[in-house]
Amino acid sequence: MLKYIQKRLLRLIPILLVITFVTFSLMYLASGDPAQKKLVAQGIVPDDAALEAEREEMGLNDPFIIRYGKWLVGFLTGDLGESYSNGQPVSGLLWTAMGKTAAVAVCALALSLVISLPLGIWSAVRQNTFIDYLVRFLTFFANAVPSFLAALLLIYLFCIKLKWFPVLAKDSFRGLVLPVIALSLPITGKFVKQIRAEILEQLGEGYVTGAQARGVRQSTYMIRDVLHNSMLAIITVIGFSVGSLFVGSVVIESIFQWPGVGKLVMDSITARDYPVIQGFVIYIAVIYVMINLLTDIAYRYLDPRITDS
């Protein structure tokens, strides 16, 4: 097991190199002349002398590969530069916002699981009944609604018509309810679908038929065997949902004004604050890779059938 983790960690190195390179090149191409962007973002109308001084100060006259190297060293030491618009360190901004995003994302994930586990199991147990068709229809529906539309419909119904919740999330529990629901909606759709498929697969296994033949109660073998054996697949599903959560948070946080990374990056796109966008992309990629790694490790740890090879 340790050997496997070691191997996986080693394999991360080239991936991280590619990630940082892709991110840096994207922003290198995107930002045009960063000196001009920085001055404009600070509200200064740049002239040639100011531009040249700024370029020199920012090290923009170095060749691409040197700049990438400098940036990479900065990234490894936790220094992602400073925001163009307010001069604060990017990593600090991102960490603060990341905490806020995590709060919503974890709640959304929990809500998704709480809804999708029973629904997925129910729909699998009652395969090809009305309930199954209804659950599957709702799943497909949830997967087909753009999240910004879902968020707006939720606001319209629960805030404007029913007056139950505030529109602006701010730092209150009540304010969090709608963003959490909106964020969990598409993930719930995916979860139900995959949990149902997994349970169906398990139900087709020999041990279930055996248990049924021996007259074991459904609830007993469902909890003891089927759920237990489905855990693996469910963990993988959770791991892979992290990407969707981050993407969802960009839209949802912008709509509900929740000060997480999603809103931070949207504000930065508007203000053309490239260091923050760059920091966001790289952080998301690293987190995503790490979570996938943990998922794989958990998968191996839980599944004795997979051996080190």
């Binding site: 707006l152 007056k163 629901i181 109660r217 609830s219 004004q257």
Partner: protein
Amino acid sequence: MKFKKALSLLLVLCLLCTVSGCSHSSASSDSKTIRIGDLFANTYTSLDPAQDSCGWWTVTLGISETLFRIDDNYTVVPWLAESAASDGNTWTIKLRNNVVFSDGTPLTAEIAAESLSHAAVTSSSNTSLADAEIKAVDDSTLTITTAEPLATMTNELTSPAYAIAILDGDSALFTGPFAVTDFDPGVSIKASRNDHYWNGKVTLDGVEGTYVADADTLSLAFQNGEIDAFIGPTTNDLEIFEGDPDTYQVVSTPASRLYYYYLNLDRLPEKDLRAAINMSIDSDAICTLLSGLASPTAGAYGPDTAYGGVTRNSYDPDAAKKLIEGLGYTLDSNGYYAKDGQEIELDIAYYAARSIDKIVVLMQEQLKAAGIKASLTVSEDPDGTYLTTHDFDIGVYCMIANPSADPYYFLNRVVGGGLYTSGGFEDAKATELLSELYTETDTSQRAELAVEIQQIIIDDEAMGFMALLNKTTCMRSGVKNCSETNPVSYYFINADTDINS
């Protein structure tokens, strides 16, 4: 079966938990605080009024004040100052003697001079005092000396960048009716009543400003009672608010944010073609589209201002067609004018803010009706793209043409060279008149010069002035005195603002 029951129980419990969150209704405290929302990006980034456009929102929230201000009739009146007199290059400004900061410190000429000197070199939005020498003469008198006589000194001093402040690191003291208590950069700001306020009693206990990036979210939060007032609704909002006058009050005041476009003189050298374009664009239809948010205009300023008396061709697509035909173009099978098999095809460059994205679609259709084909190109950042590169046939823009109750600001930008003199417009007569305008002190003479310069632009068919955006203030019922009749959009919360719960 037990298992399923347990699961359904769990599910019901979860739903109950979720719903129970809404059982407490929003507890409104006894203190009277007005909550406003602001759409302007990078709104609350710093307390220094000279930094970016930060002076804008400190004035908006009734936190900072300037030496002079613009009143409801669009004239400059003293605010923290008492009077001003000019003697060629030097202006002598006398301060009121009863002004104090929110901690009780009296305003002296020395503090004011220091504050202005800082802003003069820091501000990028207003550079009119960049080279000025600002000195305190005695406790309540200061002088500002410029290299050239600056006729519009008092107008310039209304700029929110020149708000008077005592800056100390990240904190700042101001003289307004409200003093900052809680500042969360980029997110929100809270201010409470300034008990030392120099100009009478402050009605409200506090004010809370929130930056809301999305216009629809802001409107929904307003409808849900989380925001008490804001400026700048969309046409949709207007329809909802005006349909329910018991809940919402909407006040529109003619203001000076101008929708206009540049014609690229290098790419459209034929003056008749440019004239035809200008005659195909219907300002009235644009204002109908922006129902109630904008008023049509012929020049860069409202027809009611002293410098609004310009004349131009009226909307007339048939006459436009005749002009184009006069240039040797004929209608082709697609319904567009073409010469030698080559259709006229114009590139309209625009950016998607303040309903410009809607206006350009209408412009495209209006041009089509006159047989001119046009395509649309959107940019995120007009200043960094098409205004700089001149890569357009029609470049649409939107700017506050009259921020300081004087025509120089806008005309200097579109005629005097630099970023906003786009599209290759160059006219010796206009440049000469502009430098006259800079130093001319007589108001009626200034108005005449301004009209003359605008007329040159119009006669050369170099630009098209389409509409002026009104300042539209939305308030929930019970909210009073939000400077809603003042034409300047950064005057909002003041000492008399009130709210009845």
